[in-house]
Subunit: 408 residues, 2 copies
């Protein structure tokens, strides 16, 4: 990060010194949202904000409902029944009863706690922000209609992309893309030797070319299409291998069923490696595969944002990505990677990168720079600071009634 950028953040933060900020979401571990909060909240504190993190509580029945809502907001054809709505509201009300504090900015993440403002009222927070991490551009109508009234009272709704705001664009809205944390074990520099040693432990022949996709086993990530693309490449490059890497959750039966579907499609071709956390693949191993693979693929058919693309680009790899969600914000086609729309195109670009390693290297260097400019956590912090300041200005904000210097 350049000095001027640090200066810019410091000066924005100065005006917000001591502001009390709380992030509220439903889980402390697992998933992109928590990764971002684990990095962002300490940074907010570093620059002088009084930032905290609160979790809402819920039981299995609540999380079953919110998972269904999540999928429905992504566009899945799931009915949100009266019973589900009751469960959703009941747990939001329970959490509203225990919510206390006196904050300048309350940032509520994702649908799980979205009804908190409705249930609790504005007391305890001067400004209320709803932060959406999912692609709500073509939601299931009924689910959106149910959730919408709980989103409307917020002072601002924050989306990854303008397109995700749907019919909420008339209300105050902000666009803040997500970001990666270059200091996390998933993203710190790793030598090629170390990367190869780790990959070899999982049965990869590091002398032969490797294609890798890191993503949940989920139809929207199209791992079956990735296998088909690999098979086309293998006709030309018989030594090629494929690694499909995922994080599996114990409480996600659908994930296990689709994992099995992927393994069945792989069949007895043992150059296809299907790996997940139960095999011991964690953040460091993902780093190794992203750093050491010849080609990284993210052939999604639908994406919330697809930040895993930036993770791989950060390691200097050109990525072949589906032209959906936030992927085209990250991949500039034919500059720092490739946007593809089909199995055949994906295979063609993989072959190109395997056959042109020097060009691949150059594209990878541009990929890393693009991420440095646009998708690292400091940019994310800056966007929040700017948004906080804009909200103070448009409606003068009594910063907790305290002088901004009293706490410095």
């Amino acid at each position: 990060m350049g000095k001027s950028k640090i200066e810019e953040i410091r000066s924005l933060a100065e005006a917000l010194r001591g502001a009390r900020v709380v992030h509220i979401n439903s889980t402390a571990f697992g998933g992109g949202v928590t990764e971002i909060l684990h990095a962002l909240i300490p940074l907010m504190r570093d620059v002088g904000l009084d930032a905290e993190w609160q979790l809402i509580e819920g039981s299995d029945e609540f999380f079953r409902v919110t998972k269904a809502m999540h999928n429905a907001l992504h566009g899945a054809d799931i009915e949100i029944t009266a019973e589900m709505r009751d469960i959703y509201l009941r747990y939001n009300e329970l959490n509203a009863q225990t919510f206390e504090g006196d904050y300048d900015f309350v940032i509520v993440h994702d649908p799980q706690p979205a009804a908190l403002l409705h249930s609790h009222g504005r007391s305890g927070g001067k400004r209320w922000l709803w932060r959406c991490h999912i692609d709500t551009s073509t939601p299931n109508e009924a689910a959106w209609k149910f959730l919408r009234p709980y989103l409307e009272p917020y002072d601002v709704r924050i989306f990854h992309r303008r397109e995700y705001a749907g019919d909420l664009t008339s209300s105050p809205m902000a666009v803040i893309p997500p970001s990666i944390d270059p200091l996390s074990p998933k993203n710190t520099p790793m030598s090629l030797d170390e990367s190869k040693a780790i990959m070899a432990r999982f049965g990869i022949d590091v002398e032969r070319p490797l294609l890798t996709q890191v993503s949940r086993f989920d139809p929207w990530k199209d791992p079956l299409g990735v296998i088909d693309a690999y098979r086309l490449v293998k006709k030309q490059v018989p030594g090629v291998q494929l690694a499909l890497i995922a994080s599996m959750a114990l409480d996600d039966p659908e994930g296990w069923i689709f994992y099995e579907r992927v393994v069945r499609h792989a069949g007895e071709d043992f150059d296809i490696h299907v790996l997940h956390n139960f095999h011991g693949v964690g953040n460091v191993e993902v780093n190794a595969f992203q750093s050491g693979s010849d080609v990284i693929i993210q052939k999604s058919l639908r994406e919330g944002f697809g930040l895993v693309v930036s993770e791989a680009m950060w390691k200097g790899r050109p990525v072949i990505g589906g032209n959906v969600g936030g992927i085209p914000l990250q991949i500039i086609d034919r500059q720092n990677g490739f946007l593809v729309e089909s199995v055949e195109e994906c295979a063609e670009m993989a072959l190109f990168l395997l056959r042109q390693p020097e060009l691949a290297q150059e594209m990878g260097a541009r990929a890393r720079e693009h991420v440095r400019e646009n998708f690292v956590i400091t940019r994310h912090l800056k966007d929040y600071l700017k948004l906080f300041l804009s909200m103070s200005v448009s409606a003068p904000l009594p910063l907790s009634g305290r002088s901004t210097t009293s706490k410095g």
Copy 2:
């Protein structure tokens, strides 16, 4: 159970009334040993013994070592290093320090706590019994040599089959086969309608024939051979389906790897259903598949005992089993099931049972009777009572110094 059998147990138990018994093993949940203890200990208490259950404690390193020892005792080519021996003894000594009580019979189950007597000395127990639940007929020599000195001080060593005692046959030995609990949810009667409704939930077409094997995904259970046998059957009976059902453990990476191997062999033949607990298959579902399948297979290449065969036979199903371990004690070839030695034989017998449903029914009825006579928990209890009494007689046992009536 007939009245005369109940009388026999009551009269045996009368002479042991108030005897203090403790079962010691390493885990309270999962696996056949704990299933038996959950049924046996309450029964011992019912008939007047003062029976308890104690668990030894260990960390991951200890259980990694004991798992390796378990596999080595089964015959696997695994080195038991000096470090592993140290870890094994260290945890046995730690557990010996906390072991207290004053028991008439201490029953130590399996290798994990086997060194307890060595580490603790005989105080706290008048008679010490080692109960082995694994097939130690052809153990890895080095592992057996390591464990042997810790087994020798026991008053008696109990095996499922005489053949499992190896070179320990010169010392006092008892043979007690394992047993099923007819009252557990896995074994209580289930109507065919209920069974079909449950199987349908897992994608089985209940109008078409179904072969089922219930067993861990482990090379010794030969699920790949079962798939091959199913494929031979399918040539003659195109509508046939196969269910492979297992319980998976979180802490068993090898299990996950072999599960994947099985799914790869199944490939994209969706008449093969590979199911496990993470899909929601529990005891009741296993009951449904055992009760409702046309043919039950247990094509093991090696078995501790293979009690799952009795579970299926108890539901009136003739079972096709590998001719190994305790399976030939359960299956009387061509009377109440079939013993097979190859994929081809397995397929042939499955075809026979599919084509002769009435004969299958008759064999199944005989199978159930054979289990009722030999492999239910009350027979297991009776064997223990007889053993306890024989140990009291051969060396008069001061039953805790209390009169046998003082507690009645």
